[in-house]
């Protein structure tokens, strides 16, 4: 702990400083490469792996099965509905998932009964889901509406709170990056996109912005009197703020990831695919991407947006000039400005 605390002290005073703003070109280039790689892999895999909710169909989940024989499940379906194609997967220990085309009520009932026999379980162990062909569309449409409403409201909220629209702009651009990269990671790894994963995506929006607001608040505080500032340029002030909140950023993402990780672990290994795992996975990826984006993209972007402003540029020039003069001044002469 003491090493970390002292590291925190050095970050606070600026003794240790990471060039988040200074090396922005490098960070942005890495971010772009990541996005291109993820996008390319997604395309190479032929797009997203959409869950049954977006394709339409019927799904059965059988828990506490006696055998995890895939063929038994396929037989159970083909005996009841010969024309239906079944995909049987063992999604978790003792849990089988059977996905088929859309079945009507009688067929669903028949397949359900066959599955009970095939896996030697009672009626209370079979769960069935039917998803109509337009359901995924309805979910996606609602999500897009939600996304737009949220972005508009949050942009206004932040612009009012920070009293500068440039912070809103930087935050929202970064947000798009977070969503794009998280989606790219989903596409590249072939994780299944389900409505629960979409819930996760929407939460990422909230989380990523939340994280950004905390860091931006410190930036706002540090740059409040920037025009009276004599020792640091605007970009350096922003960078100091990022460094000063770095310990918090790390603690927050660890604390955020721990519970999500525990759902993910339980969800993936004990429950199999389902609401818990899908939400947790999206958030798990999103917290990491969101935290990194705040310090590597959103904050440097804000510095870039502002540093071109006349008054800030003029002050930066003064600071740099004074510094150049100070470097040449004899040691011992105090450079504290008047």
């Amino acid at each position: 702990m003491s090493a970390l605390a002292q590291w925190g002290n050095r970050l606070y005073t600026g003794k240790t400083s990471y060039p988040f703003v200074g090396k922005w070109k490098l960070w942005f280039a890495i971010a772009l490469v990541l996005l291109v790689v993820a996008g390319g892999l997604t395309l190479a895999r032929g797009g997203f792996n959409l869950g049954i909710d977006f394709r339409g169909g019927s799904e059965f989940t059988v828990s506490s099965v006696q055998s995890t024989d895939v063929a038994a499940g396929e037989r159970a379906v083909s005996e009841a509905v010969p024309e239906a194609e079944a995909t049987v997967t063992n999604i978790a220990p003792g849990t089988m998932r059977i996905q088929t085309d859309e079945l009507d009520d009688d067929q669903t009932l028949a397949v359900g009964q066959n599955l009970q026999q095939a896996y030697g379980v009672g009626e209370d162990r079979v769960t069935s889901t039917y998803i109509g062909p337009t359901w995924g569309e309805a979910v996606s449409q609602q999500m897009v509406i939600g996304l737009i409403v949220f972005l508009v409201l949050v942009t206004v909220l932040m612009a009012i709170y920070f009293r500068t629209w440039k912070m809103s702009l930087a935050a929202v651009i970064g947000l798009f990056y977070v969503v794009a990269l998280t989606a790219g990671i989903y596409g590249a790894t072939g994780f299944e996109v389900t409505p629960s994963a979409i819930i996760g995506f929407l939460t990422i929006l909230s989380y990523a912005l939340y994280d950004t607001v905390v860091v931006f608040d410190k930036i706002r505080e540090n740059t409040e009197h920037n025009l009276e500032e004599t020792t640091r340029t605007f970009g350096e002030n922003v960078n100091l703020a990022i460094n000063q909140t770095l310990v918090r950023s790390i603690n927050t993402s660890v604390v955020g990831i721990l519970p999500v990780g525990s759902i993910l672990f339980i969800g993936a290994f004990l429950l199999g695919a389902g609401t818990l795992r899908d939400i947790a996975l999206a958030i798990f990826v999103g917290i990491i991407v969101g935290t990194l984006a705040t310090i590597f993209i959103q904050a440097p972007l804000y510095a870039l947006l502002r540093r071109g402003e006349d008054r800030i540029a003029a002050n930066d020039a003064r600071v740099l000039e004074r510094r150049a003069a100070g470097e040449g001044a004899p040691v011992g002469t105090d450079t504290v400005p008047a």
């Binding site: 929407l202 607001v213 603690n251 917290i287």
Partner: protein, 588 residues
């Protein structure tokens, strides 16, 4: 007199919080004592087992469905489901365009058909009427004793529609049983039918059984309906409620013919009446008192404001029959739900334990404040969920539980932001009590702004979302509020009090606020001595190092320096807290 010191305020705030929790618990206790509430949160279908259907409305002709029509549709589905004997069904609209039906167990095919079917409204003339109850079996007239019709029926009200078989059926028809029977006989539109109107307990009106002629006007021919007070010819408003009904062109023609035929019948002749039938049940059977030529009719009677509004709604709904397609349907076995709940809770506990361990590792004993705050947040959230379950039938779903678990991290972050701020202030050389006050004044802005973002996201998600997302958004929003309450009313007051203890104020090695770890030196050491920069031994050996150290010392923001100047003006109260015995009460 109220204690105005931070400690006094802190104690009062904590009392308020205690009061809030006690009041909420007491309300819940009363609910449980009167058997209206329960200690355990209500569970949604995905945890309890059952069937959940998401329905999308479909209107003939591809028209848009308004919220009003959707609400009316939900009302009608509810009546149908209740009528079919399924207990505890829940029907609600979601996202402005979907209807979600939750039923325990697996519904019968009939129930499913009932839910999906569009409402069917029709206007039929009354031929005769009878009592609600069937004629007892031993008193019924044998079929052969009923007269045969003398001729082909001439119009809708013609008694010649009534065959001996129909007359016998009418006598035996058991309204009470048939109205709750989803499989009851359907009568063709072009022939006579039997329909019942349930009694109205409020007005004491008994139920009536009608024998009706063929359909003469379709519900789809209704152009609109509303209700209001009847105006007299001179325009003076009376106290009588009426339902106003208007038809489209076709409906107006058909309705004119009906009223032309019905109006001349004598007062008291059932044939003067026509029945408005919705889904085979008579919702109203007004008399025709005038020939309606313009398609604008007014129905008067023993209406109250509510019953007039209800009939107007039903007529409007009849004007636009909505049917439903099943968008998604889930049948969840109860045991699977149990498993999910159990594992979800285990995941939550593991998550909580990990967060607690990490907090302790990072903040030592101060981490206990985080854990205590999380526990209080949990308690408030629990009370809110159980109370909402009681008042608004809120049910916790698996997605909701996921929301709660995710919220652990978001909640703990408020404390992290606050603690890091306190540390920042300590590094700037403040005593702990001051660092708590200054750190709080800055942290509370950050926390409020960031929680506002969370809350906004939750509210937007809740209102636009369909299906599972709602439960998740709800708990996320709920915990954001609980978190704010706890940070303001628990964490901060507790820190104010702890700041004055020897353990924390003295910067014990385990307190997490150890000054040596924070590289802290008191900014103002009393007696006019302001902090001097003392270079470390190795730094003096190098001019370059000395310069950079000086630079570091200057690296206070202007704001920090100003505050430092202010502080030095406060006097000895601002002295460093390294000697706890010296501390005096702050008077701010």
């Amino acid at each position: 007199m109220a204690d105005k010191t931070p400690r006094g305020r802190a104690r009062r705030t904590l009392w308020w919080l205690t009061g809030l929790i006690v009041v909420l618990t007491a309300i819940l206790g009363v609910g449980i004592a009167t058997q209206q509430a329960q200690w355990a949160p209500k569970l949604a279908l995905d945890l309890e087992g059952g069937t959940q259907m998401v329905l999308a409305p479909e209107v003939a002709g591809g028209q848009q469905v308004t919220q009003e029509q959707l609400d009316q549709a939900v009302e009608i589905i509810r009546q149908r489901v209740d009528g079919s004997g399924v207990a505890e069904a829940e029907i609600a609209t979601q996202g402005g365009s979907n209807v979600v039906v939750s039923l325990p167990g697996v519904p019968e095919a009939e129930t499913r058909a009932l839910i999906q079917a569009s409402a069917n409204m029709e206007f039929r003339p009354v031929i005769t009427m009878g009592p609600f109850e069937p004629v007892p079996a031993d008193q019924r007239t044998p079929v052969k004793d009923f007269p045969e019709p003398s001729a082909e029926p001439q119009n809708g009200s013609d008694p010649n529609w009534v065959t001996p078989e129909l007359a016998a059926e009418f006598e035996a028809y058991d309204c009470a049983a048939q109205m709750n029977n989803p499989d009851r006989k359907e009568f063709p539109a072009d022939g006579p039918s039997i329909a019942c109107q349930p009694g109205d307990e409020e007005s004491g009106q008994p139920g009536v059984k009608y024998l009706l002629g063929p359909v003469e006007v379709q519900g789809t021919d209704i152009a609109g309906a509303d209700f209001g007070l009847v105006n007299t010819a001179t325009g003076v408003s009376t106290n009588q409620w009426a339902v106003n009904l208007s038809f489209n062109g076709e409906g107006a023609d058909a309705f004119r013919e009906v009223t032309q035929r019905l109006t001349p019948y004598q007062e008291g002749d059932p044939r003067k009446q026509f029945a408005i039938v919705l889904d085979g049940t008579v919702v109203s059977a007004p008399q025709s008192n005038a020939v309606i030529t313009d398609g604008r009719a007014q129905i008067t009677g023993n209406f109250t404001e509510q019953s007039a509004a209800a009939l107007a709604e039903q007529l409007k709904y009849g004007a636009l029959p909505i049917s439903f397609t099943i968008e998604s349907e889930q049948q969840i076995s109860a045991t699977l739900g149990e498993d999910q709940l159990r594992l979800g809770l285990i995941a939550g506990l593991i998550g909580l334990a990990l967060v607690a361990a990490y907090s302790f590792f990072q903040y030592r004993v101060l981490g206990l404040v985080t854990i205590a705050s999380l526990v209080v947040t949990g308690l408030l959230t629990y009370l809110a969920i159980v109370l909402l379950g009681w008042s608004d039938n809120y049910r916790l779903s698996l997605a909701g539980i996921a929301g709660l678990i995710v919220a652990i991290g978001l909640t703990a972050d408020s404390f992290i932001v606050y603690f890091e701020r306190i540390k920042d202030e300590l590094r700037a050389g403040r005593s702990l009590p001051e660092a708590v006050e200054y750190g709080w004044s800055r942290a509370k802005r950050t926390i409020t702004a960031s929680k506002a973002v969370n809350l906004l996201a939750a509210v937007v998600l809740y209102f636009v979302a369909v299906g599972n997302v709602r439960g998740f958004a709800f708990t996320l929003g709920l915990t954001a509020i609980a978190d704010l309450v706890v940070v303001f009313m628990f964490t901060h007051p507790v820190m104010q009090l702890l700041a004055h203890t020897r353990f924390f104020g003295g910067g014990h090695r385990m307190s997490g606020l150890d000054p040596s770890l924070l590289g802290r030196e008191p900014l103002y050491q009393g007696a006019g001595k302001v902090r001097q920069f003392r270079p470390s031994p190795e730094a003096t050996s190098s001019k370059k190092a000395r310069r950079s150290a000086k630079e570091a010392d200057r690296r206070q923001t202007i704001a920090e320096r100003r505050r430092a100047e202010q502080m030095s003006g406060v006097g000895s109260q601002a002295a460093g807290a390294t000697t706890p015995a010296d501390r005096t009460e702050e008077q701010k």
